[in-house]
């Protein structure tokens, strides 16, 4: 209706070679790069400004975070597999991989929840020190991104997949974009993990 006449929604533009949503999601990810850039910049400035910055491994639970890293990497694989299934026109497999991705995302958040609960039990809060402040802020914001990704994926698992009947190409494109976001969240974690937990 209001999308009447808008071109390149499901087919790529002949010159640029991409669809609207593909360019849109990459612009969004570029801005996300700058968002986390600001936070990493804060981390660097605060860390270099302090003589006695603690090593993360001495305060945080490295085995739990390693497990979480593996969970998130696995979820990235299932995400990309769900897109590949869709590209091979296999809706059933798509649904299965998507459900896995969502479950793994939830598992990540549950593990994170345990980690937080443990910190709170030991009276470690953002107000405890600048290290904990940046730890809670960065992981918290990343957690919100995971939550957002789960909601998007739930949409594409449920009501969003109805598009399959009318415009399978568009659905495949949308799932690819959701995947790009999900992999980006994974990618941020790949950097957060050593920066906060190991160094």
């Amino acid at each position: 209706m209001s999308t009447a006449g808008i071109r390149f929604i499901s087919k790529p533009h002949p010159v640029t070679g991409v669809t609207n949503s593909k360019l849109g999601i990459w612009c969004f990810l570029a801005s996300e790069v700058m968002l986390f850039g600001g936070l990493f910049s804060a981390y660097i400035m605060l860390r270099t400004g302090t003589a006695d910055w603690p090593r993360g491994s001495s305060l945080l639970n490295v085995p739990l975070a390693t497990l979480n890293t593996l969970v998130l990497i696995t979820s990235s694989v299932t995400m990309v597999m769900s897109w590949a299934s869709l590209a091979m026109k296999d809706l059933k497999k798509y649904r299965m991989y998507m459900a896995f991705t969502i479950l793994l995302g939830l598992a990540f958040l549950v593990i994170k929840g345990f980690e937080y609960a443990h910190k709170f039990e030991n009276h470690h809060f953002p107000s405890t020190s600048t290290f904990y402040a940046i730890y809670f802020t960065l992981t918290g914001l990343h957690g919100l991104h995971v939550l957002g990704g789960i909601i998007v994926n739930l949409y594409f698992l449920g009501p969003g997949s109805a598009l399959w009947k009318t415009n399978p190409d568009q659905l495949t494109g949308r799932v690819e974009c959701a995947g790009l976001y999900w992999h980006f969240v994974d990618l941020v974690w790949i950097f957060l993990f050593p920066v906060l937990y190991l160094l």
Partner: protein, 583 residues
């Protein structure tokens, strides 16, 4: 997606309130932005009373303010600081940007590139409503205990961290505005790249589209660090963290509970990383509007279109790496100060190119003094003053003396008020016929123009003198300092000018609403312009063009020799160039 192509089937609230049509959203943005401009300006008119007549009760309206703002009509310093902080915030984030980018960008850009709508209409609608919610939160903050944000629009910590609740609302409101801009900018970029009409190559784009395109990149990449900063400041305020709180603070005699270890300069870096590009977010669309109007009203192509485009791209690019010139006096070393001085001087060069090119575009023209043209012409010297006075501020040594004085206020207001806002007025007068099918009154427009021009200079010109006299900005009572007392008559003069400037907006308000109903009806191209928006009906229907337009030539083919009309629309096929066109 559905079969309903006809917009008339939509219920009222889908068509006019939660509309996904770029034109309706553009008008929503523009009207809301204009209202916020008026509101922000009113805050300043109240402030000007205290500056002209410190400690005297505000006549007539003073008694309507609650005791938390004024006692017996006498303004409290807390309230003065709230007015100052909110004036800045509202004018920049709720007034000028929404009008320039949200309003004109939304309405004009898809039409000018020959697109049926924005690439993501739903996101476009969300962008407006996020902005609206952000605006409501900002206004609400005046009524919470302790009042609105009062640490300046820059919100420097630690002051902002220890400030009352209003600051929290300011940060939450900013988060909404940032996300609104983000959605808007993604939409502009994708629309410009993907949805240009056939034949509309990048160098056939109207200059306005280029300006909006570069602006969108600034919004896309510069706003997120402010989002990060806002999150950190919210953590400091709500979770008790110490990102911006150094160790060993003693606030009003009591040792601070904060854990310490933070750095207040971190906020300044993240804030100015946004806020310097933000200046260009304000100015570039204004330059775009001025370029359109000058070409159309001088009836000739813009001089050096490509130089303009390259300059705008260059300015946008460099605007990311000049931010610390706002921080020369924070104890920065001379090496980094030298770096930022050099980038600041380099960025002035493309600005000079843009201004010179726009002025040279008049040469050889046949200038039609319509109201939009008068505002556009006034933009040139006014922006010139604003740009030039940035020079001493960009030289660290001169900045030692001028930093944080009224000189700074005069400088950036010349860029934003008689510069950008004049260009925005020009845009309103120029595109009003396209949005409504009626023209605004020329007489009222000329009254509006001349009085605005005179009084706005009466407001800002004396501030240079005060700045040179060393008067600090943001002073609740300007006559506490001996060195400020000789300039107090200027404060009275400025306040008078400001109130008269307020009166000078009445013709505009009357004109705007009156012309909606009584304005002269015009055809689709009343200015005889070449760009695509003037080939669509006024107002354009849903979907804009009955058939997708095809573009055959550059944007400013005015007064082409040997043609019947003195303008060739971009969509006119080469063979029919001599054909008569509606004028």
């Amino acid at each position: 997606m559905s079969d309903k192509h006809d917009s008339h089937e939509l219920p009222f609230w889908r068509k006019y309130i939660f509309s996904q049509d770029h034109k309706v959203i553009g008008i929503q943005y523009a009207v809301t932005g204009l209202l916020f401009l008026l509101f922000g300006f009113s805050l300043m008119m109240v402030m000007r009373w205290q500056l002209a007549y410190p400690g005297q009760p505000l006549p007539w309206i003073g008694k309507f303010f609650p005791e938390t703002m004024m006692i017996g009509g006498i303004m409290l310093p807390e309230f003065y600081n709230q007015l100052g902080a909110m004036h800045g915030t509202i004018m920049v984030f709720l007034g000028v940007v929404p009008l320039a980018v949200g309003g004109f960008g939304n309405f004009v850009l898809p039409l000018q590139i020959g697109a049926p709508d924005m690439a993501f209409p739903k996101l476009n609608m969300m962008s407006y409503w996020l902005y609206f919610i952000g605006g409501v939160i900002m206004i609400t903050s005046f009524f919470v205990p302790g009042g609105a944000a009062q640490s300046g629009w820059t919100s420097y910590p630690p002051l902002s961290v220890i400030a009352p609740t209003g600051q929290t609302l300011w940060l939450i409101g900013m988060a909404f505005l940032i996300n609104s801009s983000l959605l808007g900018s993604i939409n502009f970029i994708v629309t410009t790249v993907q949805l240009r009409a056939d034949g509309m190559s990048f160098f056939r784009l109207p200059f306005f589209v280029w300006a909006q395109f570069v602006t969108s990149f600034l919004l896309l990449l510069a706003f997120p660090p402010l989002m990060a900063a806002a999150v950190l400041q919210l953590m400091d305020r709500l979770a008790g963290s110490s990102f911006f709180m150094p160790s060993g603070l003693v606030v009003s005699g009591a040792v601070s509970h904060a854990s310490g270890g933070g750095n207040p300069l971190l906020w300044q870096h993240l804030f100015w990383f946004l806020a310097h590009p933000e200046v260009y977010v304000l100015v570039l669309p204004a330059m775009g509007i001025v370029g359109e109007i000058i070409a159309c009203n001088s009836r000739k192509p813009l001089y050096g279109y490509k130089a303009l485009v390259y300059s705008v791209i260059f300015v946008g690019f460099l605007s990311f790496i000049v931010w610390a010139h706002h921080m020369f006096l924070t104890g920065m070393g001379t090496k980094m100060a030298a770096f930022f001085q050099i980038t600041t001087m380099i960025i002035s060069i493309p600005s000079v190119v843009i201004l010179t090119t726009l002025i040279l575009s008049l040469w050889g023209g046949s200038i039609r003094f319509s109201v939009p043209m008068m505002f556009a012409l006034a933009f040139l010297p006014m922006f010139g003053i604003g740009g030039l006075t940035g020079l001493p501020l960009g030289l660290a040594a001169a900045d030692i003396y001028l930093h944080d004085t009224y000189y700074v206020i005069a400088h950036f207001h010349y860029v934003v008020a008689p510069g950008t806002i004049f260009a925005l007025f020009a845009g309103v007068y120029h595109w009003f016929p396209k949005a409504t099918g009626r023209k605004m009154s020329e007489t009222l427009g000329k009254i509006h123009f001349w009085f605005s021009l005179i009084f706005i200079n009466g407001v800002f010109m004396p501030m240079f003198i005060m700045g040179l006299a060393g008067v600090s900005r943001r002073l609740y009572d300007p006559i506490q300092y001996a060195h400020a007392q000789p300039t107090q008559p200027l404060n009275v003069f400025i306040s008078m000018s400001a109130w008269l400037l307020g009166l000078a907006q009445i013709p505009f308000i009357l004109n705007f609403f009156g012309s909606l109903f009584f304005g002269k009806k015009v055809n689709e191209n009343p200015w005889g312009a070449t760009t695509l928006e003037w080939t669509a009906p006024s107002p354009p229907p849903h979907g804009n063009f009955s058939t997708p337009p095809h573009v055959y030539r550059g944007p400013y083919e005015y007064s082409v020799p040997g043609q019947k009309n003195d303008f060739l629309p971009q969509s006119l096929p080469a063979g029919q160039a001599g054909a008569p066109e509606g004028r």
